[in-house]
């Protein structure tokens, strides 16, 4: 009987003790996984430098964008005479992005256009674009990547060129159009590191002789945070241009194509995202920097660029609780 009392007492003590500790253990750690809306902030803006990011604009948010590319830092057009490129601007884009839903955003704007004068002469570019997020990465790894579809149409509003070899010697309206389609696959590996690939297709309705109307390119981009609000960003595109086309431009015109590589720093302050970058591409829109980048890092033909994006929250999203 004594034994029995001992045991009961023991069990009783044990239960009381464990009950106090256990309150926290009653709830498994899966709470966030079950209910979280997916990984956010894979990138902080809808663009990286030249590349688009997988991010869309939140519903009812309006983003005002200014992107700028200066002239060559070095090489023939750079140096102290042009204040290392700052006297010139190769391309300027002013645009707006708007979130129709949390997953679907549209954009409209204008870019100056940065023709290299050999395979492209188009300027005064107006664009309309759309991006839809098909998949959102989950913290529980049930979906390991975020995926977005991006499409854009660009029209050149410039006066028709009289120079018949130029891609600006438009015959009809449709000659002014070019299109980009992208499948963007991104993964946030950790709170500080995100990477992305972009399967890219560019179609230009009207191109100069021996240029290619349809081009595929593979893009790569990454963001690595080095402080809470600052990150290194990089993007690169490999363009699959046929060697026949490359050779023609090289042999007949002494003109070479290069793949655009951009490196920069991104600074985020609530509502604004700034980036300061260096890139060898002169143009900002895909339909130009993918088929027509002709300046080379090796010849110091890279430039300073910056972008400013400012988000305005319009309207109030209805409460979903």
């Amino acid at each position: 009987m004594k034994k029995l009392v001992c045991l009961i007492t023991f069990c009783f003590c044990f239960s009381v003790l464990s009950a106090q500790v256990e309150l926290a253990d009653l709830f498994a750690d899966s709470l966030v996984n079950e209910q979280n809306p997916g990984v956010t902030s894979t990138f902080k803006s809808t663009r990286i430098i030249n590349a688009r990011s997988v991010e869309t604009v939140h519903r009812n948010d309006l983003v005002f964008l200014v992107l700028h590319r200066f002239g060559d830092v070095g090489g023939d057009a750079g140096g102290s005479e042009t204040f290392w490129g700052l006297d010139n601007s190769t391309d300027i884009l002013i645009g707006f992005d708007y979130g129709l839903t949390d997953l679907w955003s549209i954009g409209v704007g204008r870019a100056k256009g940065a023709p290299n004068g050999v395979n492209t002469s188009q300027q005064q570019l107006l664009y309309l674009e759309s991006k839809y997020k098909i998949l959102t990465q989950r913290y529980d790894e049930s979906i390991p990547v975020s995926v977005a579809l991006f499409g854009s149409s660009v029209v050149s509003a410039m006066k028709k060129s009289e120079f018949s070899f130029s891609d600006a010697s438009f015959g009809q309206f449709s000659d002014r159009l070019s299109f980009t389609a992208q499948l963007i696959v991104a993964r946030k590996f950790s709170p500080g590191l995100s990477m992305q690939i972009l399967l890219t297709y560019v179609h230009r309705s009207y191109v100069s002789a021996h240029d290619e109307s349809d081009l595929f390119a593979l893009g790569f981009a990454a963001r690595a945070k080095f402080s809470k609000r600052m990150a290194f960003i990089v993007d690169y595109f490999y363009t699959f241009r046929s060697s026949a086309s490359k050779n023609y431009f090289k042999d007949a015109l002494d003109f070479r194509f290069y793949n655009p590589l951009s490196l920069g720093v991104e600074i985020e302050t609530g509502g604004h995202v700034f980036n300061l970058s260096f890139t060898n591409s002169t143009a900002i829109l895909e339909s130009q920097f993918i088929p027509s980048t002709s300046s080379s890092w090796a010849d110091r033909e890279f430039r300073w660029g910056f972008s400013i994006s400012r988000t305005f929250s319009l309207g109030k999203s209805e409460k979903d609780w």
Partner: protein, 190 residues
């Protein structure tokens, strides 16, 4: 035979004791920041809580990412820049009711609860006033208290001091169905 009886008995006793824990899900939590430029309000209804009727210990836990803001960009900044929810996904409170009240009896009780609140990697001691209402089928708890964001190493950039208050008002409300006592009996033995 006797020892088997003892073991069975001991389990039964253990059950009776641990069954005094009440659980609540869908716990509502909100916070409000009032600053010269803008007011910020966010709410979550995905918290969980438990209360031990005998030891009068209480527990609350809420996923940081479950807080919903009116402006989604604000919500993104809250998670990414302020609370760093990927690194510190939960806010947690472990405490005890100071007054020796009998929670099995219906009634309304105003109590002091003291304990440790962990938000954004920092654990602090808090003592808050809470209200407990016991009815036949439910026990509800609610409380309001202030949290100084700097106490939890949440840094506000100087540019935004007029947008975000230094002290935010937190409200909590939980409802514990008393039927969970029976459920607790079943689950505790497994």
């Amino acid at each position: 035979m006797k020892s088997i009886l003892l073991i069975v008995l001991s389990f039964l006793i253990q059950d009776v004791v641990s069954s005094q824990v009440l659980k609540a899900t869908a716990v509502k939590m909100s916070f409000f920041s009032e600053a010269p430029f803008e007011d910020i309000y966010a709410e979550s209804s995905q918290g969980v809580s438990a209360i031990d009727v005998d030891s009068r210990s209480v527990y609350f836990k809420v996923p940081i990412q479950s807080f919903q803001f009116e402006k989604k960009l604000m919500q993104e900044h809250f998670n990414e820049n302020y609370l760093e929810s990927e690194k510190y996904p939960y806010a947690e409170f472990k405490g005890n009711i100071e007054e020796p009240i009998e929670l099995r009896l219906s009634g309304t009780y105003w109590v002091h609860v003291s304990g440790e609140l962990t938000i954004h990697k920092v654990t602090r001691i808090y003592r808050v006033l809470g209200k407990i209402v016991v009815k036949e089928d439910t026990l509800t708890t609610s409380s309001e208290f202030q949290v100084k964001v700097a106490d939890h190493e949440v840094k506000i950039p100087r540019l935004l001091v007029k947008n975000i208050a230094e002290i935010v008002l937190v409200k909590v409300a939980a409802s514990y169905p008393l039927s969970t006592v029976l459920e607790g009996q079943n689950s505790a033995s497994h």
